[in-house]
C-alpha cells in the first residue's frame, strides 16, 4: 500500500487530535473566546478549523475542564472560556505525559 498524501494527512491529523486538547488547555490559562483562541493557536503554528475548535471547547466544558461565560467586548457578545479547576489538574498531568512522550520519542531517534 502506497502512502498517499490523503493517508499521510489522516495519520498526521490522528496524531494532532490528542495534542490539540493539550494546546487548548494550555492556551486557556488566560480567558479567550473562540475566534481569539483560534488566532492565538494559528500564530503559534497550530492551525485548527472552527468545525473542530468550537465543538472541542464545548466538549471540554461538558467534561468540567473548562468554564465559560458570556461577556460584551467591543460592543459584541462573546463567550469566554477559561481553565476550570479540573482542567488545571488535567493540564498538569497531560503536560507531564507530553514531556515523557517527547523524551521517549527522542530516545527512539529521529529516524526511528
Amino acid at each position: 500500500m502506497t502512502l498517499t498524501p490523503v493517508r499521510l494527512n489522516k495519520l498526521t491529523m490522528e496524531m494532532r487530535r490528542g495534542i490539540l486538547i493539550l494546546a487548548v488547555l494550555r492556551s486557556l490559562k488566560t480567558p479567550h473566546y473562540g475566534y481569539s483562541l483560534r488566532k492565538l493557536l494559528a500564530e503559534k503554528g497550530l492551525e485548527m478549523d472552527e468545525g473542530t475548535l468550537y465543538p472541542l471547547l464545548r466538549r471540554l466544558e461538558q467534561q468540567g475542564l473548562l468554564t465559560s461565560n458570556w461577556k460584551v467586548q467591543e460592543g459584541r457578545r462573546r463567550r469566554f472560556y477559561r481553565l476550570g479547576s479540573d482542567g488545571e489538574l488535567a493540564l498538569k498531568q497531560m503536560t507531564a505525559e507530553w514531556y515523557k512522550l517527547n523524551r521517549s520519542i527522542d530516545q527512539l531517534g529521529e529516524e526511528g
Binding site: 473566546y33 473562540g34 475566534y35 481569539s36 472552527e50 468545525g51 473542530t52 468550537y54 465543538p55 464545548r58 458570556w70 459584541r76 457578545r77 462573546r78 463567550r79
Partner: protein, 316 residues
C-alpha cells in the same frame, strides 16, 4: 451580514433545542469577528461572494451542526465483536432450523420440489435473519446505553481463555452447519421421526432389519455425539485440545461401528403402497460399498484429528 444570519439560522435548525440559541449566538459572534478581519484585510466591506466563500469554508450547516452532537452508534465499539458473534450464531441457527423445517415435508412429498424448497429456504432465512438483525441491534443499542465495556468484560480471567490449537485457524462454519443438518436428518430418518411430523409420508415406510435395529442405540449415540460436536464447532469455530480429542473419539467410535455395520447381511427395506404393497430390499453389495466410503471418510477424519492433536502438543 444578512447572509451570516441566514447561515446561523440554518445551522440552528439542525441543532437540538437545548443547544440552539447558545451555539447559534457563539457561531454568529465568531462569524462577525471573521467578517471584521476580512474587511480589514480587504480595506473595504466584503461583497456577497466573499462572504459566501467564507461560509463555504465553514462547511454546510448540517455538517457544522453535526460536529456539536455526540457521535451515536447503534452498537458501541466495545460491544461490537460480541454483537457480531451473537448475530452470526443466531443467523446460523435460523438457517439450520429453517433448513430442517423445510426438508421434513420434502422427504414425505410424492414429487418433491427441491428448487422451490431451496428458494423458500433462502427467502424464509433472509426474512428471519433481517428480523433477528433488527432485534439484536436494538437489544445491543439498549444494552450499550446501560452496560459499559468494563461491565461486559470486567470479570474475564486470562487463565480461563481456551487454548486455541492450530494457530487459530477457524473451522468452516458452513461445513459445520451442513454436518449438523445432515446428522439431524439422518437421525430423524433412521428413528422414523419424520412419520410423526408427516404421517402420510407418501405411503413410503422404512423397515429396518433385525440386525440393524439391534445396532440402532449405538448408532444413535454416535449421531447424538456428532450433532453435539457439530453444534459446538458451529458456535465456537476453533480447535482446542479437548475438541480435537472428542472429535477423534467420535471418529474412532464411528470406525468401530462401521466395521460392525459392514458385516451386516440384512439392513433395511423400503415399502410403499402405490398400487398394492411393494418393497425394495437394499442389496448387500450397495450397503457395503456405502459403508466402505463412510469408513474411508471416518479414517481420514481420524487421521486429521491425530495430526491436529500432535501439532497442538508439539507446537505448530
Amino acid at each position: 451580514m444578512e447572509l451570516l444570519q441566514r447561515y446561523v439560522d440554518n445551522v440552528k435548525t439542525y441543532l437540538p433545542q437545548s443547544l440552539r440559541e447558545d451555539v447559534g449566538n457563539e457561531l454568529y459572534s465568531g462569524l462577525q469577528d471573521e467578517y471584521d478581519d476580512l474587511s480589514e484585510t480587504l480595506g473595504r466591506a466584503p461583497g456577497e461572494l466573499e462572504i459566501a466563500a467564507l461560509l463555504k469554508r465553514r462547511g454546510h450547516p448540517m455538517q457544522v451542526a453535526a460536529a456539536f452532537r455526540p457521535r451515536r452508534t447503534q452498537v458501541s465499539e466495545a460491544l461490537f465483536p460480541l454483537y457480531l458473534q451473537v448475530l452470526k450464531w443466531v443467523i446460523l441457527l435460523i438457517a439450520i432450523v429453517n433448513g430442517v423445517a423445510l426438508a421434513l415435508p420434502l422427504l414425505g412429498a410424492p414429487q418433491p420440489d427441491f428448487f422451490g424448497a431451496v428458494w423458500r429456504w433462502l427467502f424464509a432465512t433472509a426474512n428471519a435473519a433481517l428480523q433477528a438483525f433488527a432485534w439484536i441491534t436494538l437489544g445491543f443499542y439498549f444494552t450499550g446505553e446501560s452496560l459499559s465495556f468494563s461491565n461486559a468484560f470486567g470479570k474475564w480471567d486470562p487463565r480461563s481463555l481456551p487454548r486455541v490449537a492450530g494457530g487459530g485457524h477457524n473451522i468452516g462454519q458452513f461445513d459445520s452447519g451442513i454436518e449438523l443438518v445432515a446428522i439431524l436428518l439422518c437421525a430423524g430418518w433412521l428413528n422414523n421421526l419424520f412419520s410423526l411430523v408427516q404421517p402420510s409420508f407418501a405411503g413410503i415406510e422404512l423397515i429396518l432389519a433385525e440386525q440393524l435395529r439391534g445396532l440402532l442405540p449405538w448408532i444413535n449415540i454416535a449421531l447424538g455425539a456428532g450433532a453435539l460436536m457439530a453444534a459446538w464447532k458451529l458456535l465456537l469455530p476453533y480447535w482446542t485440545r479437548s475438541k480435537i480429542l472428542l472429535s477423534a473419539t467420535i471418529h474412532g467410535y464411528w470406525l468401530l461401528l462401521l466395521v460392525l455395520l459392514f458385516g451386516l447381511q440384512e439392513t433395511f427395506a423400503i415399502q410403499w403402497h402405490a398400487a398394492g404393497v411393494d418393497h425394495w430390499v437394499l442389496p448387500q453389495g450397495i450397503w457395503q460399498a456405502g459403508v466402505l466410503v463412510a469408513l474411508v471418510l471416518s479414517a481420514r477424519d481420524l487421521w486429521h484429528d491425530m495430526r491436529r492433536l500432535l501439532r497442538a502438543r508439539y507446537g505448530r
